[in-house]
């Protein structure tokens, strides 16, 4: 007991001697002492916080949750409409299978159109016919020679008048050009059929959104095909125009020949 009292006295004496140190230490301890914990029930700050959070929660539920639910319902409605009315998967698959079906029909048509039609029986005509039905533009170079072998050449200047030779040459030219154009058109038609096959295959694997792009390409091919048809029609018209011109030239020659004969008869009669 005596020792304890002596120790306390010694401590107090140390404090009395080191006042500054004691004050600094007390200040540091007072700052570092942990603060009291606030009770959830008694502290008004927690009550306000709880009420605020509860209000925020109910507001989130009603305003944001309600708004999002309305949007979700509209979105569901749109999605359902698009899936059942606008882009029903079943009808899209049906349309794609129809494309395959139509392609099958056109494959049959191509098979039919490739059945050979050649009919000539003599060597020269067989060769010429083979050239005309070849659908091969590389064979156009041989068309003129084979044409001449079948239909003959332009007569020599000693054998026919210049007018007749001009007419014969022009007619041969128009006929040969038309035959060459026929080979070209056959080859072009084959290429168009090939392209149509490719486009049809693209349609079978397309999506409703990409099909119009393929359709636009097909439209472009159709325009091109129309141009080739027009070109073939133009050559047909040229052939018929030359035919008409020949008929007219025959009448003109007939008139000229009649006048010449009349003149010669008149000369003969005058001599007698």
């Amino acid at each position: 007991m005596k020792n304890a009292i002596a120790s306390v006295k010694q401590g107090l004496w140390w404090i009395w001697r080191h006042k500054v140190r004691t004050v600094v230490l007390l200040l540091v301890f007072s700052f570092l002492v942990p603060g009291p914990v606030r009770s959830q029930f008694l502290d008004p700050c927690c009550a306000i916080l709880a009420t605020g959070l509860s209000t925020i929660s109910s507001t989130l539920s009603s305003v944001i949750g309600g708004g999002l639910n309305s949007i979700l319902s509209v979105e569901k409605n749109i999605s359902n409409f698009e899936q059942t009315v606008v882009w029903p998967q079943k009808l899209i698959a049906q349309a794609q299978s129809l494309v395959g079906n139509v392609q099958g029909i056109f494959n049959q048509i191509q098979g039919v159109m490739r059945v050979p039609v050649n009919s000539a029986s003599l060597p020269a005509t067989q060769q010429f016919e083979q050239n005309l039905l070849s659908r091969d533009p590389n064979q156009i170079a041989q068309t003129s020679a084979q044409y001449t072998a079948v239909y003959g050449a332009v007569p020599n200047p000693t054998a026919a008048s210049p007018q007749t030779r001009d007419m014969v040459d022009m007619t041969d030219a128009a006929a040969q050009a038309a035959m060459k154009r026929a080979i070209e058109i056959d080859a072009l038609a084959d290429l168009e059929l090939q392209a149509a096959d490719q486009i049809n295959q693209s349609i079978q694997t397309a999506a409703p959104g990409s099909a119009p792009i393929i359709e636009a390409q097909a439209d472009a091919w159709l325009v091109r095909a129309n141009a080739y048809t027009q070109s073939a029609t133009a050559d047909l018209m040229r052939v018929r125009a030359i035919d008409l011109a020949n008929a007219s030239a025959n009448v003109k020659n007939g008139a000229a020949n009649t006048a010449a004969i009349q003149q010669q008869i008149y000369n003969l009669l005058k001599r007698q």
Binding site: L27, I56, V85, V86, L98, M113, N118, Y151, A182, A218
Partner: protein
Amino acid sequence: MVFLTNLLFGFVLAAFCYAMVSARTRRQLLALAVAGALAVALLGPPPAQAQGSLVTAIQSVLNVINGLIKTALNSINSVRTALSNLYQQATWPVALINQAKANVTQMIGQYRGLMQSIFTIDLKSATLPNPAALEAVMRNHQTSDFTSLTSSFGNTYGAVPNAATVSLADRTMMDMDDALAVDNLKTLKESDAADDLTLRAADNIENAASQAAPGSAPFLTATAVVASIQSQALTQKMLAAELRQEAAKLAHENALRKRGATLTGDVNTQILNLLQRK
């Protein structure tokens, strides 16, 4: 982590207390006091907020929810609703889609049978056996009987004469004319068969259109355009055949003209020779 922090804090505090107790000079004491004050100032917890600012914060959150967010959600909702209405009432109205499909079905019923009955009217008119046989084979839309066509053509128009009976030029021209005529008759049989198939393709596309949806219709229009290209190609093949035929007709007439010119020249020469002899 928290334990380590507490341990470090206790260690620093003990070191500080020991240094305060054992400091020997006033300068050491002053330095320790300044260091302690700085540590307290830097490591001390921030002052607590007043209750009033918490209420304001909560209110501002509520204001944001009830103002900005609510308005935005309402706007999104009204835009999506308008879009939904646009789809269902203006762009793809179900009633009009059904009406269009019904229209297709109605037109199929109205036209298809009628057009087919017109197209299949029998056009054959020949009366004699050979021409009747040729006409029948020409118009039967078959591509497997080209031999009968060739023989019927020979029966009606005759065969190319023997080499002994006509000149080579005449035989060649006759053979070429016959060949091109028969080629074209065969091409026409192919084209008739192709027409039947093309009409079947058109029927299939129209049938599909009567059951289509707006989203599947682009496939049908695309394949219809492709079918048009193919049909155009077939038309070109027929035009090519017609070109060959017209050109051959022109060439035939021209060959006669060449021969006429040569014969006229020969006759002139012979008359001149006759007159010279006299």
